[in-house]
Each structure stands twice: as structure tokens, then as C-alpha cells.
């Protein structure tokens, strides 16, 4: 049993855990020392740690396999710090496969949409092909509905997780695409990370299972660092969210609205562009740099200048009264997984209690989903 390990992972002090679980501090010490818990203590500890009781059991073979795939892409210096998020993601993936039907295969696009190389022009081409396939060929409009496209037409199992340790993660396992996004209050950052992770799914060889964990600097938009693939998928994300034709049309209109007379693109135009395309100021600035609309190195300089003078681009945009970004909505749960879970309960592939624990929904919630989807004859 992994009570000690799970408590250590939580980062909670024994006093905090005692307060949250209602288990006396002296009893908690006994449990940590190996005393056998009662089921009520297991339940209360699991609730306090926000995990299920089964998480106290040793990890399963599928969890270990997924964990190994994630670890292969993590630099040795980061392996120790990544253990907890990797364990969490591996558990989520293994649990998803308990709910998914065995016989169904994943979507075909990972083998059909492939980059020709890893240069910037390849990222541009891939983003254009992506818009052709999933956005009705529209190469102008902003794409704030990317999360809906991801879980719908693309069949991605998209999860939102609470983690300060990583920005996003993706995996292709048994032909099933998974994306994990860390919840952020600034949703344009999550949108960029989603596009970045889709880039990973497209850039990888689809014939093999893979998993990638991205820390914030991997999804850094202004200064590409780390693995070469990160630069390519960052470029893909920029090209997808800010298509060249769309940027051209938007900048022309923005200049009209602002009554700009001077040549070049300044900080106000970039702030406006960021709002229109549901991205951050930094992403808009870097994209304009890559499109040759501002000089090389200009994005970083503008960002630095903005932060020195204004402290925060978003505050400045508010002061200027620029229009708000379009809403970006992320589903709380992969909708296909919910439907597969209900089907699995009906067929006896998974129990309702297990599905409820995996999906973090109450049994009564699953009844409601069932009632809405399956009307009795």
C-alpha cells in the first residue's frame, strides 16, 4: 500500500492532513509507520488527498508502461521533480483505457496529417493543412473553438489538470490521442498549449506509442529552448492560431480602427491582434516577427519594453479599452470518455462506482448522463 508515498506527494504537513481528514495526528503517525487502516480511514485519507482509495494500491502494469514513455522524454535533471505529475498523468491514461471500448480504434488523422520536415515553412504548411481538414478550410478566422474541435472532430481525450509543475502533455497510445492542459486563469495560454500539444501529436511517428511532458519553458513563445521538436511545435501553434492571411486582414482593419498612419506594427496593434486571435501579446509579437512584420528580436524587445513601462500587457490593453478576446471554453471532461463510460457500465465492462471514481463524478451524476443519453423504450 502506498499511503506514505501518496501523503509525501501531496506536500501536506501531517498537521494539515490530520485537519483535512479528521484523523487524529497520533493515529496518522501510526498509519504512516505502517499500521493497518480501516476502510473509513482509507476513505477519509483519500478524500483529504483528493485521490481515490485505489490510488493507494501499487501502480498497475498499464500505468507503469505509460509512465516509462513519459520519462523517456524528460531530461535527467528534471526526472525527480517530474515523478508526481508523470504518475498522475499515467494513472489518468490507464484509467481512460478502463472506460474505452477495446474494439474501437483511434482517429486516422495522426497518420494522415504529417509534417514534411521540422523547418518553419513545414509548420506553416502543416497548420494550413490542419485548417483545411478541421476548420473547413478557413485560413483567416481566429480559432478559439480549438478545444471543441479537439474533443469533437479530432477525437482527442482532453483533460484539464491542476499542476504548477508542467504546462501541458500529450500522448498517442494504442492510436488514441491524449492531451493534458494545466489549468490557468489566463485561458489564451491554455489555448496556445493545446495547439502546441496538437503539434506534438502531428510531429511524432504515429506507428509508435509516445508521450511528452512539457514544462513551461518548453511552451515558451519568445525564446525557443530545449528539444528541437519544441521549436517546431511552437511554430506550428503560432501558425495555426495566427494564420498569415488572417493576420494580414486583421492588421489592416486594426490600423483603420486605430487610425494608424505610420508604417510598421507597434505595441498597440500587437495588443489588438492578440485580442482578436485569442492569444497572448507575446505570441502575437513573435508571430509578427516570424512573418517579417517586425524586425528579428523585436518581439522580445517589445515585450521587455512593455513590461518595464506598463508592467502587464493585459492591463495596458484594458486601459486602452481594446475589445475582449473571444471566449475560450474547455470541456471539464473528455465527452467521448463519458459516453464510453456509460456504455461500459451498461455492458458490464466497468462498474458505475469505478467510472464515477475515474471521472470524478457522483453516481447520481452518471445516472443523469445515462437518463439524457439513453431513453428507455
Amino acid at each position: 500500500m502506498r499511503i506514505g508515498e501518496r501523503v509525501a506527494d501531496s506536500g501536506l504537513s501531517p498537521d494539515d492532513l490530520s485537519g483535512r481528514s479528521g484523523i487524529a495526528r497520533s493515529r496518522l503517525d501510526e498509519l504512516m509507520a505502517g499500521a493497518e487502516p480501516t476502510v473509513v480511514e482509507l476513505r477519509d485519507l483519500a478524500a483529504a488527498l483528493r485521490i481515490s482509495i485505489s490510488d493507494f494500491l501499487a501502480s498497475t502494469e498499464p500505468e507503469r508502461e505509460v509512465s516509462l514513455l513519459f520519462r523517456q522524454t524528460i531530461a535527467p535533471s528534471r526526472k525527480r521533480a517530474s515523478r508526481k505529475p508523470v504518475d498522475n498523468l499515467s494513472t489518468k491514461v490507464a484509467h481512460a483505457f478502463e472506460l474505452l471500448p477495446d474494439e474501437e480504434t483511434g482517429p486516422s488523422w495522426p497518420s494522415e496529417l504529417r509534417p514534411l520536415g521540422h523547418a518553419y515553412k513545414d509548420a506553416e504548411r502543416l497548420a494550413s493543412a490542419f485548417r483545411d481538414r478541421f476548420f473547413d478550410g478557413n485560413d483567416v478566422a481566429p480559432i478559439p473553438e480549438l478545444p471543441r474541435i479537439a474533443v469533437g472532430r479530432m477525437g482527442i481525450l482532453l483533460y484539464l489538470v491542476d499542476s504548477g509543475e508542467f504546462e501541458g502533455a500529450s500522448a498517442l497510445l494504442k492510436a488514441r490521442p491524449f492531451v493534458f492542459l494545466s489549468r490557468r486563469t489566463f485561458t489564451p495560454r491554455m489555448l496556445f498549449t493545446l495547439a502546441h500539444e496538437i503539434g506534438h501529436l502531428l510531429a511524432h511517428d504515429d506507428s509508435q506509442d509516445f508521450a511528452v511532458l512539457d514544462i513551461p519553458s518548453d511552451v515558451e513563445q519568445l525564446r525557443a529552448r530545449g528539444r528541437p521538436e519544441e521549436a517546431f511545435v511552437n511554430a506550428f501553434a503560432s501558425c495555426l492560431l495566427l494564420p498569415p492571411a488572417g493576420v494580414g486582414v486583421a492588421l489592416r482593419k486594426i490600423r483603420e480602427v486605430l487610425g494608424s498612419k505610420k508604417d510598421g506594427v507597434g505595441d498597440v496593434e500587437l495588443l489588438y491582434l492578440a485580442r482578436v486571435f485569442a492569444v497572448s501579446f507575446q505570441v502575437a509579437a513573435k508571430r509578427c516577427e516570424d512573418l517579417g512584420l517586425i524586425p528579428r528580436g523585436g518581439a522580445a524587445s517589445l515585450d521587455e519594453h512593455m513590461r518595464r513601462r506598463r508592467s502587464n500587457p493585459e492591463k495596458y490593453a484594458e486601459e486602452l479599452g481594446l475589445p475582449a478576446r473571444p471566449d475560450i471554453e474547455f470541456p471539464a471532461l473528455p465527452p467521448t470518455l463519458l459516453a464510453d463510460a456509460v456504455e461500459g457500465i451498461r455492458s458490464g465492462r466497468v462498474s458505475i462506482g469505478r467510472a464515477s471514481s475515474i471521472l470524478n463524478l457522483s453516481i447520481a451524476d452518471i445516472f443523469r448522463v445515462h437518463a439524457a443519453a439513453w431513453q428507455p423504450r
Binding site: 482509507l42 494500491l57 466497468v350 458505475i352 462506482g353 453516481i363 447520481a364 431513453q375
Partner: protein, 164 residues
């Protein structure tokens, strides 16, 4: 001697949702129990109903000591069911109770462990209520239909099932 039945959360939620729990818990010769984890799974939705039935002694809490953690964890690992379903299997194993669950995977595990004779569910309990004269077959069918409409996971049956 009374037949002792440990209720799973899906059965409690189904019976409470369709309005039949009050009737089922009155079946003579049957004592009904719920474990601490199942109770947690039923709250808050069925909380008021459970409090009333427990206070009226129509429903009894299984003492924590009667749910041995070692057996519970062993069954959890073996069957990969939910915590409440596993708790029911644990109680059934330790105390020789009947298990009432509507979940197909849990029913399969219970049959494998203890045999089909140790198993019942919402429709089985409704049928017993009919045989004891607490319900007519058409009233039982009405509860069944109401439960299905509320999303309960119940098998396809007709009114004949409830006819003695």
C-alpha cells in the same frame, strides 16, 4: 431469522429516486444495511432519506470493524470495481449477507465470489415486495419505469417479471 442485505449505492439511489425505498425497507423478514463508503456515495442526494431510515431503524450502518481493510483492498485490486461496490463485496464475504446491487460488473464479481443466490438488486427487491403483498405487479412496474427514466442501470424486463 431475518435475511440480511447490504445495499450498494446504485440500488439505494435507484430505489430512492423512483420512490420505492420506503416500501422496500418495510419488507418483513429482511434487515437492510449500508456501509460507510456506500453511505458517502449516496450523499448528499439521498442524505435526507437515509437519515430518516437510519433514525427509524429501517436501515442499519455496518460497523467499520465489519469491513476488514485487508480483504477490501484485496478485492479492490482483484476486481477493479468502485469503492462502494468493493465495500459491499467485503461485507458480504465477512458477514454472509446478501448483496443488492444493480451494477453488472459488481454483480458478476459477487456471483463469482459468493454465488448467484447471494445476489439481488432493485428489481429483485421490488419482486420480493410484490410477493409479500406490499406492491402490486403494476405498481412495481411503475417504480421500475420511473427508475429507468431517471437513468438507473436496470435490466430489460416486462410486468410479467413481477407476477408471482
Amino acid at each position: 431469522m431475518a435475511t440480511e442485505v447490504v445495499l450498494d449505492a446504485c440500488t439505494i439511489i435507484t430505489l430512492d429516486g423512483c420512490g420505492a425505498l420506503d416500501v422496500i425497507l418495510l419488507i418483513e423478514g429482511y434487515d437492510f444495511y449500508l456501509g460507510p463508503i456506500v453511505e458517502g456515495e449516496c450523499r448528499p442526494g439521498c442524505g435526507t432519506a437515509l437519515d430518516g431510515h437510519i433514525a427509524a431503524k429501517r436501515l442499519t450502518r455496518v460497523p467499520v470493524a465489519d469491513v476488514p481493510a485487508t480483504l477490501f483492498l484485496d478485492l479492490l485490486q482483484r476486481y477493479r470495481l468502485g469503492d462502494g461496490e468493493t465495500e459491499c463485496l467485503t461485507v458480504c464475504g465477512g458477514l454472509d449477507y446478501l448483496i443488492a446491487t444493480d451494477d453488472m460488473a459488481a454483480r458478476r464479481a459477487a456471483t463469482e465470489l459468493y454465488g448467484a443466490e447471494k445476489l439481488t438488486g432493485s428489481v429483485g427487491l421490488l419482486r420480493i415486495a410484490v410477493t409479500r403483498g406490499l406492491l402490486t405487479p403494476s405498481a412495481a412496474m411503475g417504480y421500475y419505469n420511473r427508475g429507468r427514466r431517471a437513468g438507473a442501470f436496470l435490466p430489460d424486463i416486462g410486468e410479467d417479471y413481477f407476477r408471482p
